[in-house]
């Protein structure tokens, strides 16, 4: 990228660029988009960052400065701690399942299989449809009286599970919905990665008599490391943004059992009219996801790319 940006101005370049043709023209071209992002993205975020140090209640006439109080109160609030615990469980569980299952399925269906092309089309559907519809649909599938899943369990002579009414099962339910929606994306990503792998090391290992598992663990997996890193980063970022599917399934209930950090921030702002705390929650969540990304990026196995 740096190369492409610099090359046109190199002295040896065929084209001589005047002063107007470089930085100024560039900024004139990029200007409208940058201004739009600054006005509608950077400025509001800066505004809420500043306001997170005030008692920011839209119904009150003035907002007194209270320093770090919003942050202190947030970190000690049981509701926030509950949402953070839910968030960490949700992030860890969905990512573990989605990446493992995604890799397993991709490795097994990669190659010459009839119907693979059609399967790739179908796999694109869940990640692309509205999470709100996914939430509504799983809420119906998990319905305790008329839901398909409990009916299936009954047919298998298993006892019904209180999916959405029991706090622990409710968290499992939103994890299942997220896994259904996002595992296919992991499969597609890993399939693309597997198909761009160099064939020589795999063939050489096969010729040398390495077993399938040895090849997978010692060659395929290390070669896939960059793709796995990308998948991991994407999912960490996106699980910390998850809102829609939870809102349609449980609205964070029962008793806050499925309240992820974004749901908690939304409820604080738009049901509690407490924008200061809501802003503090969203910034703490952002910092935690950044720290998590940093930790993942620092893991020895992931770093050796």
């Amino acid at each position: 990228m740096a190369d492409a940006a610099i090359a046109p101005n190199q002295p040896g370049g065929r084209r001589q660029r005047g002063p107007l043709n470089s930085a100024l023209t560039g900024y004139l071209l990029a200007g409208p988009a940058l201004l739009a992002m600054i006005a509608i993205f950077v400025y509001p975020l800066g505004y809420s960052f500043v306001m997170s140090f005030f008692r920011w209640d839209l119904s009150a006439p003035s907002a007194p400065f209270i320093g770090l109080n919003n942050y202190k109160e947030t970190l000690t609030s049981p509701l926030f701690q509950q949402s953070l615990r839910n968030q960490l469980v949700f992030t860890a569980a969905t990512i573990a399942v989605e990446i493992t299952a995604g890799m397993g399925v991709a490795v097994l269906i990669n190659g010459k299989l009839r119907g693979l092309r059609a399967a790739r089309t179908l796999l694109l559907i869940p990640p692309m449809i509205a999470p709100a519809v996914v939430g509504l649909n799983f809420r119906w599938l998990f319905n305790s009286q008329y839901g398909f899943i409990d009916a299936l369990l009954a047919d298998l002579h298993l006892s019904a599970i209180p999916w959405l009414s029991d706090p622990n099962w409710a968290l499992v339910s939103i994890i299942i919905a997220d896994v259904w929606q996002n595992t296919p994306l992991m499969v597609l990503l890993f399939l693309a990665g597997l198909q761009s792998l160099p064939q020589e090391p795999l063939e050489a290992a096969a010729v040398d008599g390495a077993s399938t598992w040895q090849i997978f663990w010692n060659i395929t997996l290390p070669l896939m490391r960059p793709v796995i890193v990308v998948a991991l980063m994407l999912r960490v970022i996106d699980t910390f943004r998850t809102f829609d599917v939870v809102w349609l399934m449980t609205q964070g209930g029962p008793g806050g059992a499925t309240s992820l950090v974004t749901v908690h921030a939304y409820l604080l702002a738009f049901q509690g009219v407490d924008f200061g705390h809501a802003a503090a929650v969203s910034y703490i969540a952002l910092v935690i996801s950044l720290v998590l990304l940093g930790v993942l990026y620092g893991l020895p196995w992931l770093r050796e790319t």
């Binding site: 990228m1 940006a5 090359a7 930085a23 560039g26 900024y27 071209l29 990029a30 988009a33 739009a36 992002m37 993205f41 505004y47 809420s48 306001m51 399925v105 490795v107 097994l108 269906i109 990669n110 190659g111 299989l113 119907g115 693979l116 092309r117 790739r120 089309t121 179908l122 559907i125 692309m128 709100a132 519809v133 996914v134 509504l136 119906w140 009286q145 008329y146 839901g147 398909f148 009916a151 296919p184 994306l185 597609l188 990503l189 990308v230 998948a231 994407l234 970022i237 943004r241 809102f243 829609d244 809102w247 349609l248 974004t262 939304y266 702002a269 738009f270 924008f275 969540a285 952002l286």
Partner: protein, 297 residues
Amino acid sequence: MMAAVSDETADAASVAVLPTRWRPFPIGLAARYAVLLGTILLTIFPLVWLVITSLRIPADIFAVPVHVIPASITWRQYVNVFTQYNLAGYLWNTIVVSLVTVVLVTVLAVPCAYAMARFRLPFHRVIVSLLLIMRMIPVVALAIPLFAVFANLGLLDTLTSLVLAHTAAKLPVAVWLLIGFVQDVPKEIEESAAMDGAGTLRTLVQIVTPLIAPGLGASAVITFLFTWNDLLIALTLASSENAQTLPVGLTNFVSQYGVDWGAMSAAGVLMVLPTLIFVWFAQGLLVKGLVTGAVRG
């Protein structure tokens, strides 16, 4: 030139079906087909169930024990969502917001990506990291201050506020995606255009833009679908049917009328239809956009 580009796209799409010389996982072929079949069934079953529910008569929806095959099929729910509920209004708002957002994002993102890829901009690195950080920020962190800002401007509950919010939220991804496509255009083409006397703007509009058509398509489809699907921004900024979109409409099915599962499923099916159309006709673009965006992100 165009032929070369579309060939490249076709190649990218057909990589999927190229036979690999080394057999990736030499377990039994039957087992691999079983995994493929299981994956397909798990993927489509919830969607099939949504469609089945939308076609059931009410007595059938609330039948115990649950039976998979509907006793009889009715289109009544699809009529109801338009007659008993304001689905037409939600649909109109969603279409307007999504289309206007796509146009704005495209018009703003193309010159920006071109400048980022081809000009030596001061603060280049700052802008790049800003784009990445904007991609990471939870939407709720943006929605909270935008509510306050739009309240001050008197723009709450208008389609304008939704379009502005979505444009800002989708721009970073679109710019990021397009930078890569511009970089893939051979610089010689632009240089010869410049030697022929074409100015920067003309080079961008007449030479570069057609060459990055697949990228434009990918970014437009992704922007459209993510705007179409969004619940959180619309839930925050739209308080009435003036500006509420389909996903917000789904939440209204619950709170206002109890849960009308049949109508809600019909609305859900209608909401998913454009996605299915795009997946069917533009899957190459979508995969390219998602994978490129992901790999570069």
